[in-house]
């Protein structure tokens, strides 16, 4: 099954990039190592969202909730129980996926914008519960000082752990997208009615896609805890969902790696422009306006158009 990955034309460059990223922490200051790790975590979150948005054509408007649920699950388990630590790491994605199953099950009955609106409401409900339930979740104080297993004690160790998990997740996502399941999902995005007419149970297919995407969002949540050792309610706030959505659009939502690029751009903007002005979102706004006018397919989509003229035709033919 990994033949698909190895024979991909991206395999060579991917190995080179991974090697560079592996030795990078030896040369760069701590702060940059931290920023890179944060970009990885955010990338995974954006990639998981793009599974359902870019490849599935669903209006997953409140994806951050599943990220937050994953992060809170591992945080609470490490902080409040004496279970082995690995159980917390495993539970994060699973609880996120179960949340995805429940919310998704309610949402797939509706289409498009209604799907998105319902998801924002249900997601905000979870956010409100986490915010108000002081005794359990710490409310707006969040949960600081989460203990970590010894092999994640230093920043560099966390960096490597995050990079390895991210790589594994990306490979698995790639395989899923290239599988019959992924192909059918993209067909549903293009034309749900036609898919139904060729015998695909569209709603069930969409629900499975949501469960998969929310599982990976949960993984990203766990990685966030590994990096930050704390959680707070902003992780489940709708503003973050919007930001992640923008990352997908910015990077190129019909491409596989686009969201990684989008995440890198936004995290870098927030970090480096944020140093000079607290109004960094103003810059983001301008970037977005330019994007909509000049690169409607995102940065990665633009490059793909340049190098693969075939996809340009596809874009024109596509109606959404």
């Amino acid at each position: 099954m990994f033949k698909e990955v190895i024979h991909s034309k991206w395999f060579g460059p991917l190995i080179v990039i991974l090697l560079i990223l592996f030795i990078l922490p030896l040369f760069i200051p701590r702060f940059y190592t931290y920023i890179l790790a944060l970009i990885y975590v955010t990338s995974l979150l954006a990639m998981s969202l793009n599974l359902v948005v870019g490849h599935g054509g669903m209006f997953q408007f409140h994806h951050a909730v599943f990220y937050g649920v994953g992060a809170y699950t591992v945080a609470l388990m490490l902080k409040k129980t004496s279970l082995p630590m690995w159980t917390g790491f495993v539970a994060g994605p699973i609880v996120a996926a179960i949340t995805g199953l429940i919310i998704g099950w309610l949402c797939v009955r509706l289409t498009r914008l209604y799907f998105g609106m319902l998801q924002i409401s249900l997601g905000s409900l979870i956010w409100a519960i986490v915010l108000r339930w002081y005794s359990f979740t710490g409310g707006d104080d969040g949960i600081p000082g989460i203990p970590m297993p010894p092999f994640l004690s230093s920043l560099n160790q966390s960096y490597y752990f995050i990079l390895v998990i991210l790589t594994i997740c990306l490979i698995v996502m790639y395989l899923i997208l290239k599988s019959p399941f992924g192909n059918t999902l993209q067909a549903i995005r293009d034309n749900p009615q036609r898919c139904e007419a060729v015998g695909v149970n569209v709603k069930r297919h969409q629900l499975i896609a949501i469960i998969i995407a929310t599982f990976f969002a949960g993984v990203a949540g766990v990685l966030f805890v590994v990096l930050e050792r704390s959680v707070f309610t902003d992780l489940l706030f709708w503003v973050l969902s919007l930001e992640v959505f923008i990352m997908c659009l910015l990077g190129g939502w019909f491409t596989f790696t686009g969201p990684v690029l989008g995440a890198a751009i936004i995290v870098a903007l927030r970090t480096f422009v944020g140093i000079f002005t607290e109004y960094w979102t103003l810059i983001l706004g301008i970037v977005l306006i330019l994007l909509i006018f000049f690169l409607p397919e995102g940065v990665m989509g633009y490059f793909q158009e340049l190098f693969e003229p075939q996809t340009r035709e596809a874009t024109k033919g596509g109606h959404r």
Binding site: M1, E4, P180, N183, T184, Q186, E196, A197, H319
Partner: protein, 244 residues
């Protein structure tokens, strides 16, 4: 094989289909004709589960399929093409057909095996039978209108249907494309032993290919019979054919 009995469907107060009757026998080519707005497409949508009937029976191979979802009806062996081009515009021609073949073989949910190596023979043989092998890797949205209509039929073949329903398969085609397409449909019907139900505006085509013709008018079935019977029928001549 398929029997439609006194089916009614109304939108608000408008009765789009108001007592339609239709019988399709195995191996037949059956045409539905009627003026615009007669309810032909609505009838097809009712048979394939896109719409739910208000009353009446739709019986396929002895089973009432009137209440099933369209994906379930497809699994029973009915596949269709659409009047307005309805394909997957961003996917390649190959993948357009492959989606249907994967669904037919109940492999749409396989998660970790690459789709690029699955059901190649089945998909290619369908592409071959419609003469599309050379276009397999073109993006479907970039094909000409006529080719997209043929791709419609190819997608429907991917489900290996027993009954193939074609909603105006040649709409918008040039005369040359039209006759080529009808030849193709005839050939496919013979080679694959398909039963075909279609609707079409071009009367020459209908009378040359159909073995049985059903005439609809204002949502109702006027008559169903052999082409000669239909041609001679005075009610049909008055209502539709316009022959003195």
């Amino acid at each position: 094989m398929l029997r439609v009995e006194a089916v009614v469907k109304s939108f608000d107060n408008f009765k789009a289909v108001n007592g339609a009757n239709l019988a399709v026998e195995k191996g037949e080519i059956v045409a539905v004709i009627g003026p615009n707005g007669a309810g032909k497409t609505t009838l097809f949508n009712l048979i394939t589960g896109l719409l739910k009937r208000d009353s009446g029976k739709i019986i396929f191979k002895g089973e009432d399929i009137g209440g099933l979802a369209s994906y379930e009806i497809c699994k029973k062996g009915i596949a269709r093409s659409f009047q307005i081009v309805n394909i997957f515009p961003r996917l390649t021609v190959f993948r357009n057909v492959q989606v249907a073949v994967l669904s037919e073989q109940r492999r749409s949910n396989a998660l970790f095996r690459p789709a690029s190596s699955m059901v190649l023979n089945e998909t290619n043989s369908i592409l071959d039978s419609v003469g599309f092998l050379g276009k397999a890797h073109s993006i479907a949205g970039s094909l000409s209108h006529g080719d997209q209509k043929i791709l419609e039929i190819a997608i429907a073949l991917g489900n290996e249907p027993e009954l193939l329903i074609l909603d105006e398969p040649t709409a918008g085609m040039s005369p040359e494309e039209t006759s080529a397409t009808m030849e193709l449909i005839k050939r496919l019907a013979q080679k694959r032993g398909l039963t075909i139900l279609f609707c079409e505006h071009d009367m020459d085509i209908v009378f040359s290919i159909a073995q049985s013709i059903m005439v609809m008018h204002q949502g109702q079935t006027l008559i169903q019979g052999k082409p000669e019977e239909v041609r001679k029928n005075p009610i049909v001549q008055e209502a539709y054919l316009g022959i003195e």
